[in-house]
């Protein structure tokens, strides 16, 4: 546990040292999204059962939930590869699983922190607040955990993280835009509605959408939780396997 907290503190220290970049990433980028797509464009688009801002805002929260783990877990693994900090962590008197847990916990915390900041922005810019806070926290936690694991798997299954980084860049764009972040699942027709079910962002965005406005069309809670649970259940052993396979013998 000491190692987990130490690594989390290290990430926060590094982010404080790069305060301008951190502020842009956590505040300015989502604020621009919310202002342009929610406030400006949203006011122009007629939608059923409420404004477009109400449909899109939970999607922006979802994007920040998945960006946080990528920055924290991905940043840790990639700098661990390029600058050899992974070797420093592997030389710490802890098990491989403790290092894995520290990276995943860091990603979870960063995802939740990013989501919380954007939730405040949504309230400030668009005047929207979640109606079901418990469901929002549950979805957000599951989503951030899932993407922490997903980032680890994508970066560590290839031989080196630089190759994983290419795969990640290739996957992130469709996952963000086709995963029901800027529109609701209800708006999709076949076959896109079936394809969207393969993307974990769909479940995160739909869960948050339900938490923000339970009256508007959204995916059922059972489907959201089943999708997130299934993906997490697959990713936990996969992340464990990839981490051990790549780092049990440190050849970077």
């Amino acid at each position: 546990m000491k190692f987990v907290l130490a690594l989390l503190h290290r990430n926060a220290t590094a982010d404080l040292a790069a305060a301008k970049l951190t502020t842009v990433r956590m505040l300015v980028q989502p604020a621009i999204y919310l202002f342009v797509f929610g406030y400006v464009v949203g006011g122009m688009l007629p939608t059923q059962g409420g404004g477009y801002a109400g449909i899109m805002a939970p999607g922006i929260v979802a994007i920040s939930l998945i960006t946080g783990p990528f920055v924290s877990v991905g940043g840790g693994v990639i700098s661990g590869y390029y600058f050899r900090t992974m070797e420093e962590w592997l030389l710490a008197p802890v098990s491989l699983r403790a290092i894995l847990a520290a990276l995943v916990f860091g990603g979870l915390c960063y995802g939740l922190a990013g989501g919380a900041v954007v939730a405040v922005l949504v309230w400030g810019i668009l005047g929207l607040a979640p109606q079901n806070v418990g469901y929002m926290v549950l979805t957000a936690t599951a989503g951030a955990l899932l993407f922490s694991l997903f980032t680890l798997v994508l970066l560590l299954v290839p031989e080196t993280p630089d190759k994983g980084q290419e795969v990640f860049s290739f996957l992130m764009m469709p996952m963000t835009f086709f995963g029901c972040t800027f529109y609701s699942y209800d708006m999709l027709g076949a076959p896109f509605s079936y394809l969207a079910l393969l993307l974990p962002t769909t479940y995160i965005a739909e869960g948050l959408r339900a938490a923000y406005s339970p009256a508007s069309p959204h995916m059922e809670a059972g489907a959201v939780l089943a999708g997130l649970s299934l993906a997490t259940a697959v990713l936990i052993p996969l992340a464990d396997w990839a981490f051990r396979r790549r780092l049990r013998d440190f050849t970077w």
Partner: protein, 248 residues
């Protein structure tokens, strides 16, 4: 008492490259043991196996009496490592690097805070404490790496070419620190390709060539084997040239 026990160890990289073959050696507690070899001789693979970063493909290793396969965390708690390449955290300054190194090792603030100040002073790093690692010279980075290896109070130091590319004054500082560590009962296992360093610093030297230990002994023993006068300097160099043939 044996601090490092290596028995018939081999290591083959996933690519199929054989780095180490049939390696056996013993390092006693309180001894400074130097592993000499050309680039690509397998020194770093040996160091990584001793530091628990690589698992031997065959053979057995015991570090401070512990099996790295069974007790890697306990071994890492009791060793200090300076890897060949700098692994300082580039997002942190020098002081933060030392602090987080101690925190990763599980040390309490009351323990590590005075040690950080002590090692910054001992290695002349006070003026660089708040400096970003990215702005440090190679020598200063190496000093910071050395401070990390010492700061947790290890029983065994494992140093992979610790003075490679360093100025003579930094090299002398490292030798002083290693000497002090050894006088306090510590054991040192170091790899180097500086023959003078091996002769001056080490009680015994092993010469690694093509992943195999081709010669081992004190400087005097190696000089004798090479047909040189053991009282004259240069005995290790003669033994090294003889052991690795015309490969230099």
């Amino acid at each position: 008492m044996t601090a490092v026990f290596v028995d018939n160890v081999a290591f083959v990289y996933p690519s199929g490259v054989k780095a180490v073959e049939g390696l056996s050696m013993r390092v006693r507690h309180g001894e400074v043991y130097g592993l000499l070899g050309l680039n690509g001789a397998g020194k770093t693979s040996v160091i990584k196996m001793l530091a628990t970063l690589l698992r031997p493909t065959a053979g057995n290793i015991r570090i401070l009496g512990l099996d790295p396969r069974e007790n890697p965390a306990e071994i890492k708690r009791r060793i200090g490592v300076v890897p060949q390449e700098n692994n300082l955290d580039t997002y942190l300054d020098v002081r933060q690097n030392l602090i987080f190194h101690c925190r990763y090792a599980g040390l309490a603030k009351t323990v590590y805070a005075p040690r950080v100040d002590e090692w910054l002073a001992l290695l002349g790093l006070e003026g660089k404490a708040a400096e970003s690692v990215l702005r440090l010279s190679g020598g200063t980075k190496r000093k910071a790496m050395l401070a990390k290896a010492f700061i947790t109070g290890p029983e065994l130091l494992i140093l992979d070419e610790p003075t490679a590319g360093l100025d003579p004054d930094v090299r002398a500082l490292l030798w002083d620190r290693v000497g002090e560590f050894r006088r306090n009962g510590g054991t040192v296992f170091l790899s180097t390709h500086y023959l003078e360093e091996a002769e001056r610093l080490c009680d015994r030297v092993g010469i690694l060539h093509g992943g195999r230990l081709v010669a081992e002994g004190t400087a005097a023993e190696l000089a004798h084997k090479a047909g040189r006068d053991a009282t004259q300097p240069g005995g290790v160099e003669a033994a090294f040239r003889r052991a690795v043939g015309g490969c230099q």
